[in-house]
Structures are given as structure tokens and as C-alpha cells.
């Protein structure tokens, strides 16, 4: 523990999802003795978010949420959960926050884990569309499932072929919906993967009976008697009883911005997750932070970043010297395919795709910038994922010819330069 005791101090955390909840528990582990108060406008006990669009949405009966920690752990760790409460203002001179109810809470340290919200694009008619939902919260899954159950034809249009859109498509297909995915770019996952991966996932969805249509820029939604018609700029249109919008997010920076905290593509933080205000930290999806491995500032939407940055912030708040230095990782589950990604592919100029000999559903895409391995996308291939991560972290030089040769199995020494 640091120089001074924290027993009479208060740490307030705004946002009780992966980042906020983990910073609270980590603070206790690192010796924070004072109060910890967690606020979130979501009324549910804090839950795992990634399963919502995956296993959760496709399950028949969802009576139980997948909680991050059981309720009794908050009590036993003396963490106060204030759920269904919205923070409306930070006053960093007074070191207080104000709730929308008008109630004021003091803090010594404040952690912003405010995350992001779905971006709803300004499409003509989107506000009056019937059964149109984003996919980010438990409430969204409840609404989507209810709309599916109540629909006879179960025609679903998903706007956006990113991970959320594709996972939602796979899950809704599984529960009997007829699903069309409309992607504005020329391929799905355009922003996050190489064309090889886009092709793989397009094909996977087609094989499973989901229509995946690229180059579909939605320009309007016409709704009549509860039925939507989603119109694209090439004059095609698609009928939908239910629309799911998955075109990206907006970072929740408003509270920080109004408090005068430095903003740059999110809430800007240093390597210990501290903002420009010495008493305010920020963690998770909302932060713009430095990644030492890639030597640049980044913003990430991921569980890994939320949890790892939470641990760093907790250490720093408890007075430890600490530097956030992680290789990002992500995953996506669609049908019987597990996609695992490690590293950041941005800036790549070469891609090597390996399709393993015995199984074309077991493959990997390796992203290079010249000789540096930047990232690996692994499909049903935990070995490529784990080893790729090790190679990236260790800045291992890779013999690309060997990597391309699928007769050479994936092993720690397989692709070393002679």
C-alpha cells in the first residue's frame, strides 16, 4: 500500500460493466480500504457482455444472466453498487459527481468506465421504424427475442456486417429467423480483417442460410403496419419485421468533456490510465491510450482492454508505479466457428493465409508489416492464436516461406529463421 492510508477515502466508479466492475474488485485486492461506489444506468446486476450477441441471443430460455461476479461478492468486498442511476455531471474542482436525481456524491478518486453506446446512423425513417434495436445491453437482447417471438415471418435485416452484426445474424438464424445482413462496404468485417477473413465469413453465413450482401448503403426505412422496408442506394429493398443496427459505436465522453478532461478520440489517458486530471482515471472502451508494443495511441472495444486497464488503474490508484502494456486480443463465435484474434493488424502490407491440411475450417491469417508480425486471426485454431500472440510479443522474426507451407505444422520452432 502507498504512503497514506485510504481507509477514509472514497473511490467512485462510473460504469459497471467489464472495466468498472474489475477496477472495483482489483482496488480491494490491491489494498484500497475506503469506500468504493459503482454507478451504472443499466439496472441489471453487472453481466458479461460478449455472450449477449452469441450464446445468449440464441438460447431458448434466458432466465439467468451471465454475471461478472455473484451478487454476494459485492457485499463481501464492501463494494456499493448503485444500479439504474445515471450520473449527470462531474465537478472536478469540488471533487463531486451529481446524479440525475440531483443527489451529490463526493470522491477522492474517480474512475470513468463509461464505455460506448451504439451509433444509430441518421437514416431517413430510422426513428419511426418498427422493432429496430441496437445490440449492446441485456435489455436489447430481451427486446430482440420478444420481437422474434411475436413475429410470424421473422424476417430480420441487420444493418452492418461487423462482428456484432454477424454474431447477431448467426444467433437469430439459429432461433428460426430469416436473416439478411446489409454491409455498406464491399466486404464484411472490412474495418477489422483482411479480405481472406471477409470471404471466409461471408461464405460461412451463406452456407448457414444467412444472406450477406456487400455494397448495400441503406438510405431509408419505410414502415407501414409494423412492417419495415429497408431501402438501399442501389434501389434494392428488403422487408423486415425486425431490424438490428450494428454499425459501430460512439464513445461516452460527455461527462469527461464537460469536466474539462482532455479528449482525443476518447478520454485520453497516460500509461497508468490517469486522465489529464490527477484524481480522475479512465478505463476500457472509452479511453484513448498508448500501446507501447505498437508505439501509438489507440482506442479498443474489447473485454481484454477493459479488464487489463482496470487492473492497471487499480494499482496506480493504490500508489504503485505501473505501465499498461498489453497485446490486444479478441474473439468471436459464429455457428460452430471460433475466431480468435491477437494483435493489431492496422498498417499491414502483407497477409499470409494458412488453411490447415486436414480441415479447411481450421485456418489462420497472419498480418505482417514488412518482416514484423502485427496480428493473427485464427479460425478454430487455438494453436495459431496462442503461438501468434507469443511471436508478436517476443517480436519473433518469422520465416514466411515456412509459414506458408502447410505441410509444416504449427509449433513454437516451426517458423524460426534458419
Amino acid at each position: 500500500m502507498s504512503e497514506n492510508t485510504t481507509s477514509n477515502k472514497i473511490c467512485v466508479v462510473i460504469g459497471a460493466s467489464h472495466a468498472g466492475v474489475n477496477v472495483a474488485f482489483s482496488l480491494r485486492r490491491e489494498g484500497w480500504e475506503g469506500e468504493i461506489i459503482l454507478y451504472d444506468s443499466d439496472p441489471e446486476m453487472p453481466y458479461h457482455r460478449p455472450p449477449l450477441s452469441k450464446a445468449y441471443l440464441s438460447a431458448e430460455n434466458n432466465s439467468e444472466l451471465d454475471l461478472l461476479f455473484p451478487e454476494q461478492n459485492y457485499a463481501s468486498e464492501n463494494i456499493t453498487l448503485k444500479l439504474g442511476e445515471t450520473v449527470s455531471e462531474i465537478n472536478n474542482e469540488e471533487k463531486t459527481i451529481t446524479l440525475s436525481s440531483g443527489e451529490i456524491q463526493l470522491y477522492d478518486k474517480l474512475v470513468l468506465a463509461t464505455g460506448a453506446r451504439p451509433f444509430i446512423p441518421p437514416i431517413n425513417g430510422i426513428k419511426t421504424a418498427s422493432n429496430l434495436f441496437p445490440m449492446r445491453t441485456f435489455a436489447d437482447t430481451v427486446s430482440i427475442q420478444k420481437a422474434i417471438k411475436n413475429s410470424v415471418e421473422k424476417r430480420v435485416v441487420i444493418i452492418g456486417g461487423g462482428y456484432i452484426g454477424l454474431e447477431t445474424a448467426a444467433s437469430l438464424k439459429k432461433i428460426g429467423a430469416k436473416v439478411v445482413v446489409l454491409e455498406r462496404e464491399e466486404r464484411v468485417l472490412e474495418r477489422v480483417t483482411a479480405p481472406e477473413m471477409s470471404t471466409f465469413f461471408s461464405k460461412l453465413h451463406q452456407e448457414n442460410g444467412v444472406e450477406v450482401l456487400p455494397n448495400k448503403n441503406v438510405v431509408s426505412i419505410k414502415t407501414s403496419e409494423g412492417i419495415n422496408e429497408v431501402v438501399c442506394d442501389d434501389n434494392t429493398s428488403y422487408k423486415a419485421d425486425l431490424i438490428v443496427v450494428g454499425v459501430g459505436i460512439k464513445v461516452n465522453i460527455d461527462l469527461a468533456e464537460k469536466a474539462g478532461v482532455e479528449i482525443e478520440n476518447g478520454i485520453k489517458v497516460d500509461s497508468s490510465a490517469k486522465t489529464s486530471d490527477a484524481n480522475i482515471y479512465a478505463i476500457g472502451d472509452c479511453t484513448y491510450h498508448f500501446n507501447p508494443h505498437y508505439n501509438r495511441f489507440i482506442r479498443l472495444e474489447s473485454v481484454q482492454n477493459a479488464v487489463d486497464q482496470a487492473k492497471v488503474a487499480a494499482l496506480a490508484i493504490c500508489g504503485n508505479q505501473v505501465e499498461y502494456n498489453a497485446i490486444p486480443w479478441f474473439w468471436s463465435d459464429q455457428y460452430d466457428v471460433k475466431l480468435q484474434m491477437v494483435g493489431l493488424s492496422k498498417g499491414y502490407n502483407e497477409v499470409i493465409q494458412r488453411i490447415e491440411l486436414d480441415n479447411d475450417k481450421c485456418q489462420s491469417v497472419w498480418y505482417f508489416k514488412d518482416n514484423e508480425l502485427l496480428a493473427v486471426d485464427a479460425v478454430n485454431n487455438g494453436k495459431a492464436y496462442v503461438l501468434g500472440g507469443r511471436f508478436i510479443k517476443g517480436k519473433q522474426e518469422i520465416d514466411k516461406l515456412k509459414l506458408k507451407d502447410v505441410s509444416i505444422p504449427i509449433k513454437p520452432t516451426s517458423f524460426l529463421k534458419d
Binding site: 485486492r29 458479461h48 452469441k54 471460433k338 485454431n381 487455438g382 494453436k383
Partner: protein
């Protein structure tokens, strides 16, 4: 009901009881240090890695295919590695000792 003992990297030994769910969830509920289960139990993150006491290996069994792919090249792999999210809590596990890998 199964009694499961976790030994953390700090050599703390904690015995807990469970009768449902998976071993990772049981560990998280009981605040076992070094078991995070960040992916929620879908075999995606390997933050729930344990080393089974060799004498208990028959009780736990070997990892499944997806799990063993994740473990094979993990820097902390042992001959008795498992991802605890892939282990169901059943009476078969009564008495096992698991060393936390991280």
C-alpha cells in the same frame, strides 16, 4: 457436492464447495487469485488455466480438443494443464487439488 482445493501462486490453499456450473465460475465466486475467466467461459482467453495434481488427473480427465489447442503452446503449460472453464463441477471432482497457473 464437490470439494475442490485451489492453490494460488502465492501458495495459498483454499478449499471450496460447489455443485453446479464450471470450475472457473466456482473460482471466480470464491475470489481465487489468478483465475479471471475473462471470456466468460467459452475457451477463448486461457485466463482460467490450472495445473491438476497428477494424482487427480483420472478424476478431471484430459482437456478437450479446443482446450488442448489453447494449452499446448501456453508458456505455463504442464502435463496436467486444464482450462477450468471447461471442467464441469460434479461429484467426480470431489477432492481434487488444482494449482492456479497464473
Amino acid at each position: 457436492m464437490a470439494k475442490i482445493t485451489f492453490i494460488t501462486r502465492d501458495n495459498e490453499s483454499i478449499t471450496v464447495e460447489g455443485n453446479s456450473g464450471n470450475v472457473m465460475e466456482l473460482a471466480v465466486q470464491n475470489k481465487i487469485k489468478g483465475i479471471d475467466g475473462n471470456c466468460g467461459g467459452v475457451c477463448s482467453c486461457a485466463t482460467c488455466h490450472v495445473h491438476v495434481e497428477p494424482s487427480d488427473w483420472a478424476k478431471t480427465g484430459a482437456p478437450n480438443a479446443m482446450e488442448s489447442d489453447m494449452l499446448e503452446f501456453d508458456e505455463k503449460v504442464s502435463d496436467h494443464s486444464r482450462l477450468s472453464c471447461q471442467m464441469k463441477v460434479t461429484e467426480d471432482l470431489d477432492g481434487v487439488v488444482l494449482k492456479v497457473a497464473n
